[in-house]
């Protein structure tokens, strides 16, 4: 655990711009005015589709790429003038990048060897780092003799042995199988808490980001779409892009019919829905989000309430614990619902009423009508 008070402005990125020229002559804005502050003990994730600029930002912090303009401060000092080997950050690479000609001990000890740490201390710290990642006693083996998961741990041990102020992780889990990935996610989170340093994690996997992060930065086309806790990102996405990128979502475009300041009635393609939203005015065009798990199947004996959407079931898929229902509303819009209860007696083609909680609706800011993000 870190003894110092965590500083909220440990890493500060100010107006960072970086563009690339593609071979075809086009321009890609990898970073288009990024502003970001990261705390010294935070697990922060850069999340976005490929080409959103997340790896570029990581490479710039590590020193492998330069910035067109802007500033990056780490603990108050500019990073941009130092070459990669003088920066107090270390990186875990996507393909691990273990040195194939060195054994595990020499791989992990590399940072200490180039720093000239005495043999005795060096060996002790190598053993400690390997123990920390749960991989003791493999010092004499070669990287090619280890499994992918073990190589991942070696890469992690190698990166933390220099006691960096910040660890950069470039999609480190993407090559692992699903079970191992889940396990490593938790281990990474624990390791971060134990070390008490900032982890900057880059991924395109939204599930991974939601599982591990203290905060998530959603990037798209070089811009920050949203910065927030996993809960905020999931339940209150700030844009249509974030809504579609994170989790399964039903997005409705509609017009506000009436609002009493508490509850609003919105017409979405012929169906009126009720949602708890204070600041909607009648006549306003809105985009609404309702996650599939917020639907419930209305039982037949209940009277038809006002908080249900009628739809026709097209297909139902059993995905382990829940049933995923693919439905279609009267206006033709597809609808996805996750239903926990048993589905006895419901067949494709049947009309259903899907109930919702008016408080579960979220108005996606900034987008009105059918415009695609």
């Amino acid at each position: 655990m870190s003894a110092q008070q965590p500083s909220p402005d440990f890493l500060k990125i100010k107006k960072a711009y970086r563009h690339f020229v593609t071979p075809e002559g086009g321009t890609v804005r990898a970073l288009d005015g990024i502003d970001l502050s990261v705390a010294s003990n935070e697990f922060i994730t850069l999340l976005g589709p490929s080409g959103c600029g997340k790896t570029t930002l990581l490479n710039i912090i590590a020193g492998f790429e330069r910035l067109d303009r802007g500033e990056i401060l780490l603990a108050g000092t500019s990073l941009l003038e130092s070459p990669p080997h003088r920066r107090p950050v270390n990186t875990v690479f996507q393909s691990y990048a273990l040195f194939p000609h060195l054994n595990i001990g020499d791989n992990v000890g590399y940072g200490l060897d180039v720093a000239g740490v005495a043999k005795k201390e060096r060996n002790q710290r190598v053993a400690e780092a390997l123990e920390m990642v749960g991989l003791s006693g493999v010092e004499k083996r070669k990287p090619s003799q280890l499994s992918g998961g073990q190589q991942q741990r070696v890469a992690l041990a190698r990166a933390i042995i220099n006691r960096p102020k910040m660890l950069l992780l470039d999609e480190p889990l993407s090559a692992l199988d699903r079970n191992l990935r889940g396990k490593m996610q938790i281990e990474l989170k624990n390791l971060q808490a134990e070390l008490g340093i900032c982890f900057l994690f880059v991924t395109h996997d939204q599930e991974e980001a939601l599982t591990m992060s203290d905060r998530i930065v959603v990037l798209n086309e070089g811009k920050v779409e949203q910065l927030g806790t996993p809960d905020e990102i999931y339940h209150r996405p700030a844009s249509r892009f974030v809504t579609e990128f994170i989790g399964e979502s039903n997005i409705f475009s509609g017009t506000v019919v009436a609002s009493d300041g508490q509850l609003a009635r919105v017409n979405v393609g012929g169906t009126e829905v009720l949602c708890t939203q204070q600041n909607l005015t009648p006549g306003e065009q809105v985009s609404l989000l309702l996650r599939p798990e917020h639907f419930q199947l209305q039982s037949a004996d209940q009277p038809n309430g006002s908080t249900g959407i009628s739809a026709v079931l097209e297909q139902s898929v059993f995905i382990g614990r829940d049933h995923q229902l693919h439905c279609r509303m009267p206006n033709g819009q597809p609808l996805s619902a996750l239903i926990r209860s048993s589905l006895s007696g419901i067949k494709p083609g049947q009309a259903l009423t899907l109930e919702y909680d008016p408080a579960a609706w979220h108005v996606i800011p900034g987008v009105a009508g059918e415009r695609r993000a």
Binding site: A62, F64, P83, H85, T91, F99, P100, H101, G111
Partner: protein, 295 residues
């Protein structure tokens, strides 16, 4: 008679053409040379079928058993040739290593073009290319004309028929032999390893010493061997560019066979040269194998 498995039979069948060819056309002549080197030279060429060890004595410095005429001129020539071959290796390596890095960073189409250009000299005869060097290096050649018209020199430099000319010619001839293996190992080096080394705090020089050089060493070793061996025995370049001034072991062998018509002594010189090469290469390989590379 032991019986072979199906796999062994297939292997035997596949290997037999190469084995036969090398057995007849490589080992055969080598064996003839080994035998000739132990026979007495005939008075007017040819050989007398008597065992005669003074061929080897002569290489080491004793001419036909006359101790007072001790002269190590042949060993000197062998060592000078080895020195020249080593210099060729070092110059080609110094040239090819950075160029290989530069080319490996190019976009793939220009990469292929560069490799094609490096291999281009193979398309024409070595003799013709060496004649071109004579045109460049002679007193009234291009090199002197350019240097004089630039005012850098007032009189033509004596470039032809010198050790310098031989080195220039050898480096020119052997660059592709060094470049191709070095390039293939540089090309296979994962740039992420260089990044990882820098990231862990290594300066560019340390990164080179601890990662880049060890990882590309196999290519460097192959390149050095591929240049050293033919450079040591080469006689065309010294004959054309070195004139009578620079006698190399290759020229000596050639003279013994063609001019002096002393086949046994020519064969002896060849055997000594082969032994020397084997010695140098095995030392080199042993050293390289001590730090075993990744598989």
């Amino acid at each position: 008679m032991r019986s072979f498995t199906r796999q062994q039979k297939q292997l035997l069948l596949l290997l037999s053409p190469a084995t036969l060819f090398l057995g007849i056309f490589f080992l055969g002549p080598l064996l003839i040379m080994a035998v000739y080197s132990l026979l007495e030279p005939g008075l007017y060429g040819g050989v007398e079928w008597n065992f005669y060890h003074w061929n080897y004595g002569r290489v080491l410095g004793w001419a036909d058993g006359f101790y007072e005429e001790f002269d190590i001129v042949y060993l000197q020539i062998l060592l000078r040739s080895a020195g020249l071959a080593l210099l060729t290796v070092l110059v080609t390596l110094a040239f090819c290593y950075p160029v290989a890095f530069w080319i490996s960073r190019l976009p793939s189409r220009r990469k292929s073009l560069c490799i094609f250009l490096i291999a281009l000299p193979f398309f024409s005869s070595m003799i013709i290319r060496l004649y071109a060097w004579i045109l460049i290096l002679r007193d009234s050649g291009f090199a002197n004309q350019i240097l004089m018209s630039l005012g850098l020199i007032s009189e033509p430099l004596d470039l032809m028929y010198s050790g310098t000319a031989v080195i220039i010619g050898m480096v020119y001839i052997f660059i592709p032999f060094m470049f191709l293996p070095v390039y293939s190992s540089v090309e296979n080096l994962d740039p992420k390893l260089i990044k990882a080394s820098q990231d862990l705090g290594a300066t560019p020089f340390t990164t080179f010493r601890r990662v880049i050089f060890p990882m590309t060493l196999p290519g460097v070793v192959s390149g050095c061997i591929l240049v050293f061996i033919p450079a040591l025995g080469n006689f065309v370049v010294p004959a054309m560019l070195g004139g009578a001034k620079v006698v190399m072991i290759g020229n000596l062998v050639e003279q013994q066979f063609l001019a002096a018509r002393n086949w046994p002594f020519g064969a002896t010189l060849s055997m000594v040269m082969i032994a020397f090469m084997l010695l140098v290469v095995s030392i080199y390989l042993l050293k390289a194998m001590k730090n075993p590379q990744h598989s």
